[in-house]
Symmetry: C2
């Protein structure tokens, strides 16, 4: 279990009240009740709705006070004005709330007034609020799941080491689905929306102390308190990698971010400076977000920027070298000494260079030897292995062999396995042995670039 | 059928001699014999090998002359020195040859001498040669398939409108596999390797006149005759989009390209200038190569750079707008007039802007209305629709509705469908109706950017 942090009652609640609970299928609160069951939440669940006396066979309470004992977390799935009243009425009986509905500052003047009210109630009562206009929390450790899209439409990822903080609910949901379908696990996921109270900095404070979290991955549209963010991010980044995507970087995107969660997108340059100051690894776009989720699930970082590329397909090797150069990675050349040694080991048609091209004559053994030689000593910090499955001598024993060498070296090894169904089937073999697999040369290099920026 | 072009005997041969033919399983010539059958080649096949009198139940000839009639194409799968002798001996009986084996200029001095000899024989005898050190031709029109990786390891794509020219065999093979697994078809694929004779310019001359080819997609490491390339590419680009990836752009990559196919990678800036002059659309990397294959299978180009983004997930909309800005696309704002009109049509919580955010309340109808309104008039050149499947009101009728509107508008509509299994299952619906589907916001935008650069 995670040590008690300031927001532990949000991530590991002992009890959850679902406000707006109903048996009416398809309603948000109904989906959430079901999700909590599916996610394996072990605490108490209290349905709350003045219109019902029973929901899903459980007694339903007219309001939170009526539950008769303090509740850790209320998930509030009612209209915006009712949500404000519910939290006001529950003050003293409630530690935290997730307000999932919209109708607040993202909709204009009236909504902004309601959100200000929510903020004031939180300040006065001490009830910590996630949202409004969010999807809340999905947590593989505690089994909390307030993402109100049913599982048949959006599969949930399994247990993993990366925690996700996202201002956008849809972005978080889509990333979760992608992680689920790619076999990438997560620890905690928070969609915090308009952040009337709890913001990314508060969540980072929790994640910094959370032993279940190995890396924090953020989707940010706008930050309102820059100093607070930098302090929290820097504290967290000292302990584990903090990776952030700033969306709304440019004119048009900035406009979209503004209307989307009611945040001023702010000037991109300020964000870059803040990330740099805090030791946050900046990434760009959805693809890099997924790449980062995949690679930081396996490795905390790399010791530097020197990349060894090993492949049996020259064109893919060249493409990776190009991409490395574009990302500031160094495709370092082998020392003359090592070249001499390797030329003796390998047949003449192998290209002993970087990229290291084993050609269509590649074998499991030659891959193993090339990886051992490049990772040994202090020539390289990361290896990318693109084993295309054309060469007939390659077998299903290759992944275990490479994983063993990777493990012994203590350095990150990234697999690139582009192509069709045959390559996709082989991907799993590498993943079973703990090596992250990317489907494109660019994905593998983006991951290496992110790793190389980690200070952990 | 394609009209007769200069190299028609290579792409649409009436007869093929397979030199090195054998029944010994796993040998290159054996795989090629099988591939020709699988690809549906309808012409005559002549096994050639002095060691056998029969191969696959067919009479086997000791050499090409012994066949007794002129052969359109010889596929030569023997050692490098033997290959040279075979072509020398067949002069006068042979129009074209594919030399698939390596051991030529990519291996050093002796190989380079053999390649020079090959070149001389070609010049003197008029035998046109593809290769050496290549995988040759895969052609869905004629059924030629000399890619010597068996189908259980590398599926072949179906019939399509994009033709691929690649200096790297492994790159071509991996792209073909990816196309096959993604349902993207191809017309002609050529891996031309060291190009002792036939080069990308010769192939472009053929593709320019080829009615089966709607777009030409090139992977280039180095071009030796820049003027010839620019002339051919410009001629082709006037008729159909020509899209090119220059690999080996940077230092390290440049080195890899050099040793890989024996070509001097040359300075990247010269290539950029040549592409620009010829009207070639430049792309970067494997991902953009696949994206281009997908989008140019459906559309020849767009009228300009103004992109409308329609989504039900704000965060994905913001991400796409960012990516558009990064690629020089214009996320143009709606006219005040149109905003007024649309605000009357749509509920207040829809964001009438660009990106156009239909939110979780999106319906098939609202998607249709938004697309109709944005594509109508002259405000936009391309639409990207990212329909995330969270909103419960979206149905399987959405793809047909959007496809109909796209068709009537005459403008390209690109679908972005990121996420997991649910989204992947829905992808097919769009594709059935002829709309290209991308799995990431970046992919969709890269495709839009490539389309916007087409002059066709």
């Amino acid at each position: 279990m995670a040590p008690e942090g300031k927001l532990d009652f949000l991530f590991n609640p002992r009890s959850i009240a679902v406000v707006g609970a109903t048996d009416s299928k398809g309603k948000l609160a109904s989906i959430i009740m079901e999700s909590l069951g599916n996610a394996g939440f072990k605490g108490k669940i209290y349905p709350v709705n003045p219109k019902h006396s029973e929901v899903r066979g459980m007694p339903c309470f007219p309001d939170i006070k009526a539950i008769g004992e303090a509740v850790d977390l209320a998930v509030i799935a009612v209209s915006s004005s009712t949500a404000v009243e519910v939290i006001r009425g529950a003050a003293g009986f409630l530690k935290g709330a997730i307000v999932i509905g919209g109708g607040f500052s993202e909709t204009g003047f009236n909504g902004a007034a309601l959100e200000a009210e929510l903020k004031e109630i939180s300040n006065k009562s001490g009830v910590r609020i996630i949202g409004p206009n969010c999807m809340g929390i999905f947590d593989t450790i505690s089994g909390v799941d307030t993402f109100f899209i049913p599982r048949e439409r959006a599969k949930r990822p399994g247990l993993g080491r990366v925690s996700v903080l996202s201002q956008s609910g849809s972005f978080a949901l889509i990333a979760m689905e992608e992680f689920a379908s790619e076999g990438i696990g997560v620890a905690r996921v928070v969609s915090y929306g308009n952040k009337a109270d709890v913001d990314e900095a508060d969540c980072l404070d929790f994640l910094a102390e959370d032993s279940s979290t190995g890396a924090a991955l953020l989707y940010i549209e706008g930050i309102s308190d820059g100093r607070k963010f930098v302090e929290s991010a820097a504290r967290c980044a000292k302990k584990k990698p903090v990776i952030a995507l700033k969306a709304g970087r440019y004119g048009a995107g900035g406009g979209a971010a503004r209307s989307h969660t009611g945040a001023m997108a702010g000037r991109y340059e300020l964000y870059r400076a803040a990330f740099k100051k805090a030791g946050v690894i900046e990434i760009s776009g959805y693809e890099e977000f997924i790449d980062a989720g995949r690679v930081f699930s396996r490795f905390p970082g790399a010791g530097g920027k020197r990349v060894a590329i090993i492949t049996d397909g020259g064109g893919i090797g060249v493409s990776m070298a190009d991409e490395c150069a574009a990302h500031g990675l160094i495709v370092a050349q082998l020392s003359d000494e090592k070249v001499e040694k390797l030329k003796k080991t390998f047949p003449s048609y192998f290209t002993v260079s970087n990229p290291f091209d084993l050609t269509g004559s590649a074998t499991d053994e030659s891959y193993g030897d090339a990886l051992t030689e490049t990772l040994g000593g202090d020539d390289f910090d990361i290896a990318i292995v693109a084993a295309l499955w054309g060469p007939p001598a390659l077998t299903d024993a290759l992944p275990a062999r490479l994983a063993e060498i990777a493990k012994n070296s203590g350095k990150p090894v990234i697999i690139c396995s582009p192509g069709g169904e045959y390559a996709k089937a082989k991907k799993r073999l590498f993943e079973e042995f703990g090596l992250p697999v990317f489907s494109t040369p660019e994905g593998a290099v983006r991951a290496a670039a992110a790793l190389s920026k980690s200070k952990v």
